[in-house]
Symmetry: C2
Subunit: 194 residues, 2 copies
């Protein structure tokens, strides 16, 4: 097991309905040392790529992606959910369905922060059905920028998002891929990775 899988086993809580709670260290309370380690690990996994910018989606992706951007020495752009009066009309938009909240959001990035030919690393905390990730890919490509890869902290391998996006040819790296989990026994099975 790698450092993240060990942490999930130690502090993650499996709930019925295939919910994995990692709110004690990842998406409500954040262990900053772990964030830094995640940043370094994505830098290692995408070391051969030129990255101009990291992109994520609010809210829980921001803390993680900030430390990834730090490792690459590039800016972070976070896509926003729903229209804010502080955002100009001139933006890229994708529609994203949330597995957690059971609703649809418009996800937007200002055209001022994504440009043709830029090399983009997309980062997010979870990959399940892949809607959020597909939204970020769509926004990136609308700008004429290049998706160099997708860095995911926890992938639910028993849902289809990861497979669909890899089949589309994208380079997806997930630090932990959960192939099965059982709320009753608390048992969790990770996919073996190199």
């Amino acid at each position: 097991m790698n450092f993240l899988e060990e942490r999930i086993v130690k502090d993650g809580i499996i709930k019925s309905g295939n919910v994995l709670k990692v709110d004690s260290f990842l998406n409500h309370q954040m262990d900053i040392s772990l964030m830094e380690e995640i940043g370094r690990e994505f830098k290692r996994r995408f070391a051969h790529k030129t990255i101009d910018k990291v992109i994520t989606i609010e809210a829980s992706g921001i803390g993680i992606a900030a430390f990834v951007a730090k490792e690459f020495g590039v800016p972070l752009v976070f896509a926003k959910k729903s229209k804010s009066i502080n955002i100009d009309g001139d933006m890229y938009v994708a529609e994203v369905e949330s597995f957690t909240h059971k609703n649809k959001n418009q996800v937007i990035v200002s055209k001022r922060f994504l440009h043709e030919g830029e090399h983009i690393l997309i980062v997010d905390d979870f990959l399940a059905n892949g809607c959020a990730l597909q939204g970020l890919i769509s926004i990136t490509e609308s700008a004429g920028a290049v998706v160099e890869g997708c860095g995911i902290v926890i992938e639910k391998g028993f849902q289809f998002g990861g497979r669909v996006i890899r089949n589309m040819g994208y380079h997806v790296e997930s630090l932990a891929i959960v192939d099965a989990m059982d709320a009753e026994s608390g048992k969790i099975t990770f996919r073996a990775q190199d």
Copy 2:
């Protein structure tokens, strides 16, 4: 002018309705070097305080507060807007009105992540009418934890939030206090600080 005031003059955009857009470096695209500098500056301003935890509110506070928490070597907890099915019933709740979005949100923190006697530094990107900050103060004190201070990146000094909260006896440090700004001329006036 300090480093942040200089950056606001350089890249901030003043819009009518007292809107200061800092989305090119703070709350849509994030300059990570600037976040690190902000983290170091809050560490300097609250150096004499014992801090056990940093608390902020999603979304744009997270990236900033993460680097503050890093400087103090403590966890970050971010309050969530609206109820998520991934959050237990057992939580602290405050009602917060958003100046930007013109709506009200329930803001929640799980009781598992805030404890009696903990020393808390509250961090947020903006302070205007003070609603978000008062919500975070209320949540912290509901837990019996101690508000050691409030670290704000940009305070709108011409709104009343900062004055009210300082008058309540809280130690508020704002890296830039905007006392006046004019959309037509683009002129911005900062309050002098030591």
